[in-house]
């Protein structure tokens, strides 16, 4: 069985499958379709979907609702992500499980509302003050939109953290044929329902952790415990503190809870050829174009490996390092000026001492068009 579907619908269906019951968003091309789907669908599951007065209010409502125990999602595009910045910090510091969909369009500023770009990759990683880690997943087609949306909810609750689903205008708005079996088979092992670590009976300490990488138990505001939520530097009870020991423990915890569990987040599709000396690293819409390029190259007898990154942040270093083994040339196609190439370069640098550093090249476009597979083929050697 096959269907003809776009990514926006797959994201909405994924959210419903994950048990999403709260959505707030502000209209913006090309993310409005998700808002429309959620406004229509959430009342059916007894949930709430609302159009906020702006992006700041929309994200703020999600954060409030999440702390009252709702399973929340919002979606926007570049200009909206700019306005989300301060609340990304709130979600990190307050430890709020929330899914944020960024349907990338060509930036900067108002940019190209109906044209594609991948310019938000580093922006979402470093988009709020403090510089703490976030999680970001990146689909390439409708089944991945569905699966990775579910996965985003799961990771948001596992780590009590904002999780970005980073997609783009082409993946979200273009339709393609899909084998419906792909929805359930993709990343199947990751399909456990999202679950927050719930607080037990007895006294509740809202930000209590056993170790730095621990995630505090959750109790909803309006539930059985008194809950203190704050995004100011706080102690475990949620009161303001400047005690350096407590402050260090809090801030180190915000990083450690994600960094120490990278292996749970890392998600790639690798298609490695044992004798290949060239590796293409790609993500999102550009990965689809890379697959086509690699097919062309292999038809012509070339050996080329491919690594598609689905978990952009934190960087799946284990998988990338493994894929880099024996590689002399790395090609990173992107619809920006080389943002993720920086991360690959960083990993290549750590290999300098062993004298096997590979050459890295980008295939970059910022003209609102996709990377043509032929452009990638031309850079393979």
């Amino acid at each position: 069985m096959r269907e003809f579907v776009d990514g926006s619908e797959a994201i909405a269906r994924g959210a419903l499958a994950a048990g999403c019951n709260f959505y707030a968003g502000y209209p913006i091309t090309p993310a409005s379709q998700i808002l429309h789907h959620m406004v229509r669908e959430l009342p059916k599951v007894g949930g709430v979907a609302i159009q906020g007065e702006d992006e700041i209010a929309s994200f703020g409502m999600c954060i409030g609702a999440a702390m009252a125990g709702a399973r929340c999602m919002t979606a926007t595009s570049g200009p909206g992500i700019s306005l989300y910045s301060e609340n990304v910090g709130v979600a990190i510091m307050g430890e709020v499980p929330v899914v944020v969909v960024d349907v990338m369009r060509l930036g900067p500023a108002t940019g190209g509302a109906t044209t594609v770009g991948q310019g938000d990759v580093q922006f979402i990683r470093w988009g709020t003050s403090g510089g703490y880690p976030i999680i970001a997943l990146c689909p390439t087609n409708p089944p991945e939109c569905y699966s990775l949306t579910i996965r985003s909810f799961q990771l948001a609750e596992r780590f009590r953290s904002p999780v970005f689903l980073l997609t783009d205008r082409e993946v979200a708005a273009s339709m393609s044929t899909v084998e419906v079996e792909a929805y359930e088979s993709l990343f199947r092992s990751e399909h456990a329902p999202p679950s927050l670590k719930q607080a037990g009976e007895g006294p509740f300490i809202p930000y209590q952790i056993e170790s730095l990488d621990d995630v505090p138990p959750f109790s909803p505001i309006g539930g059985p415990h008194l809950v203190r939520f704050t995004t100011s530097t706080h102690d475990e009870r949620g009161f303001l503190t400047k005690d350096p020991k407590k402050v260090a423990r809090l801030n180190e915890h915000l990083a450690a809870k994600i960094e120490a569990h990278r292996d749970e987040i890392e998600l790639v599709s690798s298609d490695l050829q044992p004798e290949a000396r060239t590796l293409v690293i790609s993500y999102g819409i550009t990965a689809r174009n890379a697959i086509e390029a690699i097919r062309i190259a292999r038809k012509n007898g070339r050996k080329v490996s491919s690594l598609i990154i689905h978990s952009l942040w934190p960087v799946p270093e284990t998988a990338i390092k493994q894929a880099l083994r024996g590689i002399e040339r790395v090609v990173v196609p992107e619809l920006n000026l080389g943002q993720y190439r920086l991360e690959v370069e960083r990993l290549l640098c750590s290999k300098v001492s062993s004298g096997e550093r590979a050459e890295i090249v980008g295939v970059n476009r910022v003209d609102g068009e996709m990377v043509n597979p032929q452009q990638i083929v031309e850079r393979l050697s």
Partner: protein, 442 residues
């Protein structure tokens, strides 16, 4: 014996400056809560930023403290998710500046929040800068020669924009506990604009006294007490009532299709449909893709159109292939359907790329046109604007035999609403006559 809460305060002393009105107002809030006796677990105090933002730490209720100006948005989320919560927002006049948009929209929405504005005419915490409520002529660290701006009347603004209970008063008002109690009891949006003394800044900078504060209201010609009250549905509950009939309905599912037809296509075909708004280009190309699925082919569809509707170009790019399609772009089309001059203009690069191996299906009235492609004129003179593209696509399908026309017909029946399907099926019939002579070189 029924147990009563004798206080909702915890044991921590307030941190406010001597003479600051905040402590007085928080005591009145506590008095109102003691009178109402809510379960503290059903009360959440949401605080904004500034000195008033410290307030939540002195109460044994739920507490929520985050960004400047956004307290109302967090409160709205809490209330929407759990309409039983008593959500009390404490903010300053600063928060009403940076977050005025949210205050206004929460009022308009009549969402069930109780907003206490601790309005002391300047930013106390950051050093006495002017705020949106600093009186005209008021001296602050950033209006050293006296404020040139005129103050925002917070209570008056929310009162004419949908708030259902609005109070304007001073921190010295003996009725404050009663007013706060009434505000909490109001189901919808309540706001208390409580004028205060900032003993650290506004008082010394302006030799401002309690008497000045109390007379300021009068000199501005404003009323104190309950200045507005109206019966209106509270948003979170109204939303649930309005959507109640939807609860339990099945949510959106995919429209999966079995392959029902066989296509002879052996390689991928890249099709550009270049039309204008109102010609149903997107709808026709979606049907072209759905028909392909029914015929066992893979398809992709991407669109380009201006951000406005019903004007300008509308272009769809459709790829059909016996194999899965990864790259959805088209640099050189195999087939180009020219439906309107707007589309031709916008898709000129793809049009210019056409070679002698490619086919151009084109409305007769758009000819003559210079191209290397093999031209197939379409006689669409008698077809309405909204039927033009679907008729042309069907004609192209009949002409090329990319997949059986019956698959296209089924796509219409399976995916479109009855009335629209009826019209489109008629267009399908007409499509057999729009190409004058069968071409053989396509």
């Amino acid at each position: 014996m029924k147990l009563e809460y004798i206080t909702y305060r915890n044991s921590s002393p307030y941190p406010f400056c001597p003479g600051c009105s905040h402590s007085m107002v928080l005591d009145q809030l506590n008095a109102a809560l003691v009178k109402l006796q809510p379960d503290p677990r059903q009360v959440v105090i949401v605080t904004d930023i500034g000195c008033s933002g410290l307030s939540d730490q002195y109460f044994n209720t739920n507490a929520f403290h985050a960004l400047h100006g956004r307290a109302v948005t967090y409160g709205t989320g809490l209330k929407l998710a759990n309409p039983n919560l008593k959500v009390i927002v404490i903010m300053g006049d600063g928060g009403c500046g940076i977050g005025g948009h949210h205050v206004l929209n929460a009022a308009r929405r009549n969402i069930g929040l109780t907003v206490l504005v601790l309005n002391n005419f300047n930013y106390g915490m950051t050093g006495g800068q002017h705020s949106v409520t600093t009186p005209h002529g008021g001296k602050t660290t950033t209006t050293r020669g006296g404020n040139l701006e005129h103050p925002l009347d917070i209570a008056g603004t929310v009162a004419i924009n949908g708030a259902s209970f609005v109070v304007r008063t001073t921190a010295f008002d003996k009725n404050l506990p009663d007013l706060i109690e009434q505000a909490i009891l109001n189901e919808g949006f309540s706001l208390l604009d409580i004028w205060e003394l900032c003993s650290a800044h506004y008082v010394p900078n302006n030799q401002f006294t309690r008497r000045d504060l109390e007379s300021l209201v009068k000199t501005r010609g404003l009323l104190t007490g309950v200045v507005h009250k109206e019966e209106r549905a509270e948003y979170a509950n109204a939303y649930r009532r309005q959507e109640a009939s939807q609860v339990g309905k099945p949510t959106m599912q995919g429209k999966a299709h079995e392959q029902r037809f066989a296509a002879a296509l052996t390689r991928s075909m890249r099709i550009v449909i270049a039309g204008a708004a109102g010609q149903k280009v997107v709808s026709a190309s979606t049907l072209l893709g759905t028909g392909a699925v029914l015929a066992g082919l893979w398809a992709t569809r991407r669109d380009d159109y201006p951000v406005t509707v019903m004007t300008g170009h509308s272009i769809s790019e459709v790829i059909l292939s016996p194999e899965e399609i990864f790259y959805t772009g088209i640099e050189r089309p195999d087939i180009f359907l020219a439906m309107a001059s707007e589309g031709l203009k916008s898709a000129h690069r793809q049009f210019d790329a056409l070679t002698a191996e490619d086919v151009l299906y084109i409305r007769k009235d758009l000819l003559p046109l210079e191209t290397k492609a093999c031209i197939v004129p379409l006689d669409l003179g008698h077809v309405s604007r909204k039927e033009a593209t679907i008729t042309a696509v069907a004609a192209m399908l009949r002409h090329t035999g990319l997949y059986p026309i019956e698959a296209f017909e089924q796509a219409i029946g399976l995916t479109q609403r009855h009335e629209i399907a009826e019209e489109n099926l008629k267009a399908l019939e007409r499509s057999s006559t729009v190409i004058a002579r069968p071409e053989t070189n396509s």
